[in-house]
Subunit: 491 residues, 2 copies
Amino acid sequence: MNNKQNRSDHRIYDWIRSRIDAGVWSPGEKLPSTRALAADLGVSRSTVVVIYEQLAAEGYIKTAVGARARVSNGLQTRQVPPHAMRQAPKQTRTLSAYGERMGALAFAQRPVSDPHQINFLYGAIAEEDFPTLAWRRLYNRALVDKQHLLYYGASEGEASLREALQSYLMRARGLQCTSDQILIVQGTQQALDLCAKVLVDPGDPVVMEEPCYLMARRTFESIGAKIMATPVDEQGLDSSALPSTPCTLAYVTPSHQFPLGSVMSISRRQALLAWAQRQSSWIIEDDYDSEFRYGLRPVDPLQSLDTHACVIYIGTFSKALSPQLRLGYLVLPPALVTPFRQAKQLADRHSPMLEQAILAELIRSGAYERHVRRLKRENDRRRSALLQAISAHLGLRARVEGADSGLHVVVWFKDIPMDSEHEVVAKAKESGVGIWPVSPLFAEGSKFRKARCAGFVLGYASLKKSAIDKGIGLLADVMQPYFAKAAPLQN
Amino acid sequence: MNNKQNRSDHRIYDWIRSRIDAGVWSPGEKLPSTRALAADLGVSRSTVVVIYEQLAAEGYIKTAVGARARVSNGLQTRQVPPHAMRQAPKQTRTLSAYGERMGALAFAQRPVSDPHQINFLYGAIAEEDFPTLAWRRLYNRALVDKQHLLYYGASEGEASLREALQSYLMRARGLQCTSDQILIVQGTQQALDLCAKVLVDPGDPVVMEEPCYLMARRTFESIGAKIMATPVDEQGLDSSALPSTPCTLAYVTPSHQFPLGSVMSISRRQALLAWAQRQSSWIIEDDYDSEFRYGLRPVDPLQSLDTHACVIYIGTFSKALSPQLRLGYLVLPPALVTPFRQAKQLADRHSPMLEQAILAELIRSGAYERHVRRLKRENDRRRSALLQAISAHLGLRARVEGADSGLHVVVWFKDIPMDSEHEVVAKAKESGVGIWPVSPLFAEGSKFRKARCAGFVLGYASLKKSAIDKGIGLLADVMQPYFAKAAPLQN
């Protein structure tokens, strides 16, 4: 026993020594308190005290009454520097084809948002638009709701949320499905990633809108898809330009084309569905900001016209709640329910459960719909402010596109050449205004680009009306020199 | 104007009619209130009132003073049934190779946890072990911490959390890295999925422990990896049985082999690292329950012995906090930081931000370490209760394996044949006890299985000490008949 005790003491002594020698605990650094270490190692505190005294006697550490022991300052240790500091060893190990492809893709830099800047950043939401009180009340309740144990949830998402969503989608979007067809995911991006994994093989033809939502395109490029870029016009995706060969899927944003903002006409919708049937293609309908329609025309989703169960509908809570929550959902054709649930299980088991419970209650109680209605009014005001400011400060120099719905517009400037976009962005930034060029969203360069002048994406969901007016005013000043050079406007 | 007004009124009328005809709003169902619909459509309430009156006059809906209008009960509508109810059209559309492979995999049924059952369910945590008060306080604070806008976060995770983790891992695990090497993910499962995507191509050889953590094996199988099953013994993965050919990666659980619970010896660790260098293989170290070590021997991770930057370390908060949070992390070799960040961005952009902020503060403040220490004492008590109950009720009939650490043990019964495991599980369930057979965890069947008798995985982290004793007692009764048939025990 005593022997055993001694052996264990030595093991602990050696372990501490090795950590000091390796520089895990470096000279001058505090050691764990004897109480904490004793608890960690599952030995009596006195055991640790004895070992510390031994190490102190040998000069490895300094002990002082009432203070935590420290590693001696003078001590020479053979520091093993962490990976990053070592000259990285020549890497003979390889990445997958996916890893290589992905490395070759251009990823947009994440914009650092400066609070002093008036930033027309698309995808940003005003913090005061988040229903903080309701969310907190429900979170605190969900946190104390008794479960008899904490265990993994269902990969398809909580039944309460899927049922609440099913009837919400019926009411709000005229979308008919069963709650089993709904899969809860980490926002639109995970929905796209699951579609790419489950449906697309390297080399498969995938129809993308041009210009398009780049993250969607990157997702299919990373899987090795052959992108069939198809132009959009004021009626949305040009169905006459769709490939006449079989395709694996087509990704579309019919309610509010990203970025140009057109709403796909009913005839185009029917043409697209007929094409998908001919080419046995899946269709992904990304309904990313459908809550925000300001016109008189409510547009039911493509999914509701789908009689061949080929439309995969994607919805998100990033626009009406917050992009930081990472909550979204898919409405799947029955044939895809099982493979997508399995893919979700392999991707991350399931989405966090507390947030699902909160969202279910928020929707069930009607609070979510009231919130969306309030938010819609709020964003309609921002939108009007933006349109007024543009006509006041920029007048006929600017042409606005896609303002009927959503949370952003595209503004074209016929007097500013296409290749000056980045110059204007830089100058705008200097005067404290953030705007975003359209060119990067034309993944095929100018091939399908009609407007040969400069264009910018202006998001307004995070800005106050006053800031919107001020920002457009500043933008007008930045653009004056270009206008001055251009032909005077005929009246 | 008046004309335009009329047209828009007609459009709204037609839209409501079409919804009633299509059965989106079914007979007897309430229509939206005139106020709500007016807000939705952006028209005056009186406009909607007029339209409702028109529809009522035509018998489509019933209006009543002070009540919501309803669709008329008698109404014949040409219901378009939702997808699931239609006879699913012959599906000419295909899945990817991934989708097909995944469909062929056997996924374990998610156990439904019955509160009346004493469930030795591995992976389940007692709800009272979650630090509810601290978490709620921090969540409520994070919720009101002013940001000037809500926008997407960094794909690698919040800097505050990565920095807190970096020093925690140094203190708690002797793991040296920079915070840039840390990637925040949705639990261990997403970490594995990212490894599979970024590192493994179909046909690539991947070393798995046998028996193993099935979800890890499924993840690599789904990507099409060639699984090289390698046996484990009481020293962990048998390095002498490793393939002598180049491999893409090896997945190991050195701190507490899942499920058998052995701790990989230092010589085996060195042998594995040397092998990985020879075969230019990556190593995934899954340190899933390292917080719970009860023995005298603190084991630093494989990563801390890695001088060739080939070890990918995976940690999770599912055992010390809750599996429902879906929070975990990777510590990456420098060469893999960029591809993994990009893969995470394509997978779901980033992990939810509030939870990251809370966790960062929990760790930074030291509250997390205190919590883990408390939890460790608690689980040590449960573990002792389990071991005592086993020796009291089952005595020499049972052999316990892997009890030095973690939150589960494996118990072998030499008197019960291997192929009776499911029978015993079923009988145990009848008497209100949940236990889990080891056989499914031997993915290669009995090829590498030493113990030819029945074995069961018993998790104890969600059970009270009294329940543990009662459960084992009931289990002993269930097993009596098998013992009776067996040879009497020699004393």
